[in-house]
Symmetry: D2
Amino acid sequence: MRLIKGKKIQLGLVGGGPKSWIGHVHRISSRFDNQYEIVAGVFSRNSQLSKRFGQSLGILKERCYSNFREMAEREAERKDGINVVAIMTPPSSHQIIAEKFIDKNIHVISDKPFAGNLAQAKKLFKKIKSNKKIKYALTHNYSAYPMVREAKVLVEKGKIGKVEYINVEYVQDWSDGENISQKNAKKKFKWKIDKNIVGASAVLNEIGSHAYHMATYISGLKGETIFADIKQVSNKVKMDNNAQVMINFNNGAKGMFWTSVMARGGVYGLRIRIFGTKGSLEWVQNDPNYLKLNPSNGSVKFIERGFFNAELSKKFSRLKFGHPEGYLDAFANIYREFAACLKNNVKKRYFYPNEDEGLETAKFIEACKVSNRKKRWVKIK
Amino acid sequence: MRLIKGKKIQLGLVGGGPKSWIGHVHRISSRFDNQYEIVAGVFSRNSQLSKRFGQSLGILKERCYSNFREMAEREAERKDGINVVAIMTPPSSHQIIAEKFIDKNIHVISDKPFAGNLAQAKKLFKKIKSNKKIKYALTHNYSAYPMVREAKVLVEKGKIGKVEYINVEYVQDWSDGENISQKNAKKKFKWKIDKNIVGASAVLNEIGSHAYHMATYISGLKGETIFADIKQVSNKVKMDNNAQVMINFNNGAKGMFWTSVMARGGVYGLRIRIFGTKGSLEWVQNDPNYLKLNPSNGSVKFIERGFFNAELSKKFSRLKFGHPEGYLDAFANIYREFAACLKNNVKKRYFYPNEDEGLETAKFIEACKVSNRKKRWVKIK
Amino acid sequence: MRLIKGKKIQLGLVGGGPKSWIGHVHRISSRFDNQYEIVAGVFSRNSQLSKRFGQSLGILKERCYSNFREMAEREAERKDGINVVAIMTPPSSHQIIAEKFIDKNIHVISDKPFAGNLAQAKKLFKKIKSNKKIKYALTHNYSAYPMVREAKVLVEKGKIGKVEYINVEYVQDWSDGENISQKNAKKKFKWKIDKNIVGASAVLNEIGSHAYHMATYISGLKGETIFADIKQVSNKVKMDNNAQVMINFNNGAKGMFWTSVMARGGVYGLRIRIFGTKGSLEWVQNDPNYLKLNPSNGSVKFIERGFFNAELSKKFSRLKFGHPEGYLDAFANIYREFAACLKNNVKKRYFYPNEDEGLETAKFIEACKVSNRKKRWVKIK
Amino acid sequence: MRLIKGKKIQLGLVGGGPKSWIGHVHRISSRFDNQYEIVAGVFSRNSQLSKRFGQSLGILKERCYSNFREMAEREAERKDGINVVAIMTPPSSHQIIAEKFIDKNIHVISDKPFAGNLAQAKKLFKKIKSNKKIKYALTHNYSAYPMVREAKVLVEKGKIGKVEYINVEYVQDWSDGENISQKNAKKKFKWKIDKNIVGASAVLNEIGSHAYHMATYISGLKGETIFADIKQVSNKVKMDNNAQVMINFNNGAKGMFWTSVMARGGVYGLRIRIFGTKGSLEWVQNDPNYLKLNPSNGSVKFIERGFFNAELSKKFSRLKFGHPEGYLDAFANIYREFAACLKNNVKKRYFYPNEDEGLETAKFIEACKVSNRKKRWVKIK
């Protein structure tokens, strides 16, 4: 659907119903910079519920649909149909939904992970590449923090030399303070346990995908071989809740990831450290406006978003240094940059994650599963 | 103007033109929660500029006005006129603009400080109190951080006992890394130097007002007497750039404020510490999702937004713990709560700052000026 | 008493009995670098107690004295008499004890403050200056942290430009978690309340002296005028427990000190920040191996003890970077440097605090008392 | 050798010559609490050098020996011979030296690692256990930080529930800011490259041993199986410089260690995190006076050494809370407690590391080497 000059980008939503947390995040992000207008959506398999919720968002009743297929068909027929669809359903449905809209030449913003498993990912990747009319963005949102992008460019510029080691950890606590029994767990984590819905592995799909994405996004490297050790909640509850991975990158660098949803206390969060021959970088989501640069022969620097030595970060910031930005500001950067990309005919460099990164991450997750099963190093392929 | 059910609150803007930083902040904040629709505004004394900018925001040409008087008149005449005006002009014009809209029974959200000086503040206060149909919110935005409100309630509940000491610092660096000559300063700080525009004192109006507001907001106390020492940039450049203040509160507590815009390195920011007979609290804007509670007979606690022990914060959060919120999320809390207040007929407690706090802060700033001139303790009155 | 080559410096102690905390600190510090041998001392007014404790330290019975006068006389008569006396009695006795030993040409290491009040300080200062044979060190120990000295030299080298503002805070909690009643306080703080023992002001002598010393030590400035506000525990308990001071330095810089012993939670500690025209420095005792350098046009640097950009610190360190040093390591630096000074005939620069700093600090404390009483700015003189 | 009442413990040293860093650390630690007197030693294979250095420490010429065998023989013959020998030579000689002194019924304090390899470790362990007259302490010094011991006891008391995950990292930068060529490396790291001297693996012996020790010391667990990935500097330089290890503990818990000496920027240091079913603990050597306790259903607590909730830490502290202790204070705790153990006939619990921990750590290192070679999980045995 062609964008209309002087009009906001027409956005449709699939998923993100009343109980969804990520739906809320996507909607705020789309409003942040006044670039999108939410005009259509499907929010539940329950048609009535979907309509009621859609209308509460200000969507016309007739554009609140019962399912994504109907939505894709109808919107494609409208003159004022949506330009972009944002998908925020469980992982295993990402591929099929995205493909339907791509077939209608509608651009896609998809929540991560790219797909529910590697087979789906390969299909979806092929589909995206085959349609030159559409663009695809994947909301690996942590990579949209200004100081993460600053880090990426510092590595490119050689500020830490050749990368030799990458350590990523993303640890959470899903227990909500409870001692979760088998029974509780099944109830509490519902769809996270159903691999048909959540896909390959709860912990890897949900947060492991972020770990791998961050490492490769900032370093510019790809993983070559991995050794993984994945833990289930218990014999009875078939949900993975902890994954540790050793990795060899394509330039000879080594690394280690640790992702967990059973890390009680749960406030450790996402941290990435990249070591090179000349120094190292550290970024933690809990203190996202700073990037720590440790040169091997000088003092540690705390590079602040929007301040001196962080020129790039200014392009992805809305606030001056000194005033903290957070998770939503970063998430909205993907929406903002995708809008700029759709509107802009001139070639320029975009930093938002896309299908290439989606496929790579799916390969990584698959390799982790195989390695864990075979208990040996395996190739990412 | 009555709110129409099922329709967003109709919002008009005065100030916040293309070069304004705070204008941007207000607009994002108003969009955050889908509660307001920006439908009218005046953005420049230059009528053409005002219209052009207004239209770029999606406002109809006919509702982009040349000045605030015209806007108030016309909007009041329309059936679909604005419900709320948001004012983000320089301080000395806040009073006259707010009064105009209040006369038309239009609710007001005003940027701080309340007014350009104490005389204006008293007039405006009286005007607001005299019109029962309107509500007034003052964007002392730091008080809208969830953990600041959590702090307020912890003090109310007696968690730190009787307050005995309050230390607030808000230090910034306006030099942008330059060594500012007299000449530069005049150019660089333009309107900040003109007391007719900025009001009482640049440093006190801009950031000192925040310091006093935060101290009284969290503690529930009022200042009684103060001793102030204010510094000008130089003999030639009549802009205040540093103010230090000792204060005695109405319960016998003491305190100290330090506000500066010449603190090179400029990344210290806003910090408040409140000490009571049973413990103390600390909050810093650079790490806004945490509140430090130091009991006098136990370990320091880092209370995290959205986590256990921070129930109140959940009401003023959009994100789960672990994911940082920032400046905009807090600013938007004022818009969100003001919307709830306007829509809600049931009596409940609101936490957004209003005219009472505005007047108190104006009294404080005036007392600082007098004390600095007389070089002695003076009453806040 | 002449030092004997190849033999450790013979050290006598006055004060620091079994219940004394600071006595323990001095003794460990004297042993740290194998430069001193404790051979004589007086530890209590109770002669028996003094002897028993002295012997437990390994001192010969005959060199455990009943009072400092006896000790000075006898040690001066011995061929193997002490070279140095270390004084760690309550403040008001510092002067009279030091003078006695100076008269016997015995070098002095004295705990701070220099003296109990300004009159005593002036006398002692004159006495020290009048005896060219002896050297005097004052254990303002915080100035002996390697990174504090690094800061001093960075300021000297102009790294932060001309100093414009100094903020020091030293806040403690002496309540031990209790709600201290009048009665308790009198018992709990015993000699701290008796001005004949503790001298001018508990809070100023105990920790305010450190605040002023640190500010002038690092900046190289002197105070000119001050405005002070001192608080007593209560009308009945005549112990000062909080002091806040504004200060104008001799180069036009301004500053603020806050010292307290009623800051519940009590773990804030000592922090100093110095702002100049090109940047600022921050050091906190809780994290003593780092010095924060905030240039006004670049990233914040965390300069680490013993690492690159901290050359000076290596001279005052025993450990490599990465391994934390603490309070005792710093305290021992004064003992070590004083030993080097006594042994070394070559002129070199010493960084340990001496009588000059002692007198200045006494003037500062006196001025604070006067200003607090008169409620106006007063000169430090 | 029997201790003589009222006399300090007579201490002999093996190793720690003029260029040795750790020798300096051991000597300061032995002096800290006035419990030991250094009276004999061998400091170099060069007899003259050994004597000269020994005398500079105040040791009689006749008790400065040419080698450890001579020292053991002669000291055992003296009535006033040493009670304790402290060994601080390279790892591969630890066993043979310790055994010699044990045979003479002299107590041993040994620097870590326990031995150069597992075979040596087993022999030494047997020897120690076979002589009931002697006691053995191993200076795994990090375990002697007061807050590490506090952590151990908190785990014992069940404060974090059943341990489920342990993450330890100890990362250093040995490059000194240089880009180390093959040639440089050989020169720079001399004995670290020679496995006959350093033992099993440079990185594992030097710092990996600490990682494993800390994990088991605090958790009370033992490792069962491990998967290790060890990296050499290069094909030519046969020094290990990075080791990452996954581990399964004997209670089913999992964990991960990362130890490196190539982590440029090098200021990351030692960090341990232990997660249980009720919460987690974190301790970092860079901030050693605090222990972070994250309950799964409450705020993070910063437990401070010497303050409330840290009763145990007071037994292992010399300073009040608020004043930082460091590396040397902790190291000295082993000397102090070992002295108490030797003097005390009453049974009490001691916290210093001993031969049991030494043997376990040697098994761990051996298992890492095997796993790395075989590229599979192996048992620790």
